[in-house]
């Protein structure tokens, strides 16, 4: 447990207490600020009701969280290899599972900081509307498995390929495909292919839950199938990461 905690602290402090981590956080807050300013300055967008805006912002926060997971996950094994620190790490008395858990805990802490940074923005756009508390709860409940899933997937590819670039490109491409419901309209998503994509895409599942609870005020019981979808996604990515992390490409 101590080893896991040491790795997690090292990973999270590299991200959060360093200049690069602060720049990332500043970029993230700049993105949300720009989005908020667009919402109040654009005539049509400023007429959207609070629930709609909170839904859009929750989706954006989850997408940026998943992007962070893709970057950190890609760096987890291949980055160590490229810096020449993977072999000493593998020779140290650390179980592969402990290394994986430590790295994902570091990612979880970074996602937690991003979540906290997004709370004022969600409050800013949604305080006078409906379901702000539900939005925060479901962003944590559904956003966390989706983000960690992308982190695990990137770690699996990172360990498998031994290349940050290959892992990052593959994971970001998959993330763009998964996050496409953020930009395509409900008309396209209503087609047979769109509905099938929605049924198997964890990102779309989480977005549909945000829509369901924030805009339509539907209860938790209506979200069970989608919760199962994101848990299955997390489980599959965890299995892939465990399989590959036991035999990382270090040559």
């Amino acid at each position: 447990m101590n080893t896991i905690w040491i790795i997690a602290r090292k990973e999270s402090s590299q991200m959060l207490c360093s200049q690069k981590g602060m720049i990332w956080l500043l970029t993230f807050s700049g993105l949300l600020s720009a989005f908020s300013l667009l919402l109040v300055s654009n005539t049509e967008l400023s007429l959207l009701d609070n629930a709609q805006v909170v839904y859009m912002m929750a989706g954006t926060v989850m997408a940026v969280g998943a992007l962070l997971a893709a970057i950190l996950g890609s760096d987890a094994y291949a980055g160590e290899k490229e810096r020449g620190t993977l072999v000493p790490l593998l020779c140290a008395p650390i179980a592969p599972d402990a290394l994986l858990v430590g790295k994902i805990l570091g990612l979880l802490i970074a996602w937690g900081v991003m979540f906290v940074a997004s709370v004022p923005y969600l409050w800013g756009v949604g305080a006078s509307g409906q379901n702000l508390g539900a939005a925060l709860f479901y962003l944590a409940l559904f956003g966390t498995p989706v983000v960690l899933g992308f982190g695990y997937l990137a770690m699996a590819l990172s360990a498998r390929t031994g290349s940050v670039l290959a892992s990052l490109l593959s994971t970001v491409t998959l993330l763009m495909l998964a996050a496409s419901p953020l930009v395509i309209g409900p008309g396209l998503r209503g087609t047979a292919i769109g509905r099938t994509m929605d049924a198997i895409n964890p990102f779309a599942g989480a977005l549909n839950t945000f829509d369901s609870v924030i805009i339509d005020s539907e209860p938790f019981s209506a979200q069970m199938a989608r919760l199962l979808l994101v848990i299955v996604w997390l489980g599959l990515c965890l299995i892939a990461a465990r399989r590959n992390a036991t035999r990382p490409d270090f040559q």
Partner: protein
């Protein structure tokens, strides 16, 4: 002279009645009704559903039928057609064909984006004809609801990046002092 006047007025009235009867025998009959489950006093963000019935009352089939919904704002001083971009993703029924006597029943969804008084109407045309037929209008009022409060959003949008920049400066100064 009087006889010619009577004759002329008889011809004009005859022509007028022909035109009126031609328009009365339009080959399409349209009806538009709000759904019974629509909220009685809708507020911004609510969804409304409307049902249109398009019946071919002519004797020949209608091919390539196009039906679309339009929305008009009728607030005094602000009368204008509304772009349905945010209001409805379902803007038209295209390519349908209707045999004589057949009816096409379509539902139209609409999300209420802005408060005010509105009228909705469904229009129909077909591939061959040059006429556009319109349904009776349905009028509704959308109650205003609190939307984004610019002051609060602006303060958050400015404060959070400034706070992070302040943290960056704080860490940098702390590191410099440690080195010294």
């Amino acid at each position: 002279m009087k006889t010619r006047k009577y004759l002329l007025s008889a011809i004009v009235s005859g022509l007028l009645s022909t035109v009126v009867s031609a328009s009365a025998q339009a080959p399409v009959s349209l009806d538009l009704q709000p759904d019974g489950k629509n909220p009685a006093s809708p507020v911004m963000g609510d969804h409304l559903q409307f049902w249109s019935s398009i019946t071919n009352t002519g004797t020949s089939p209608i091919e390539g039928l196009v039906a679309w919904i339009s929305l008009v704002e009728i607030d005094p001083g602000n009368e204008q057609p509304v772009d349905l971009e945010d209001w409805s993703a379902q803007k038209a029924v295209t390519g349908a064909s209707l045999k004589p006597g057949e009816t096409l029943r379509t539902d139209w969804y609409m999300r209420l984006i802005k408060g005010g008084d509105y009228r909705v109407v469904v229009s129909v045309t077909d591939r061959g004809g040059r006429q556009v037929y319109t349904s009776p209008t349905v009028q509704f009022h959308v109650r205003q609801k609190a939307v984004l409060q610019a002051g609060r959003v602006l303060s958050v949008a400015a404060a959070i990046p400034l706070l992070i920049m302040g943290l960056m400066v704080f860490y940098k100064t702390k590191q410099r002092r440690r080195r010294e």
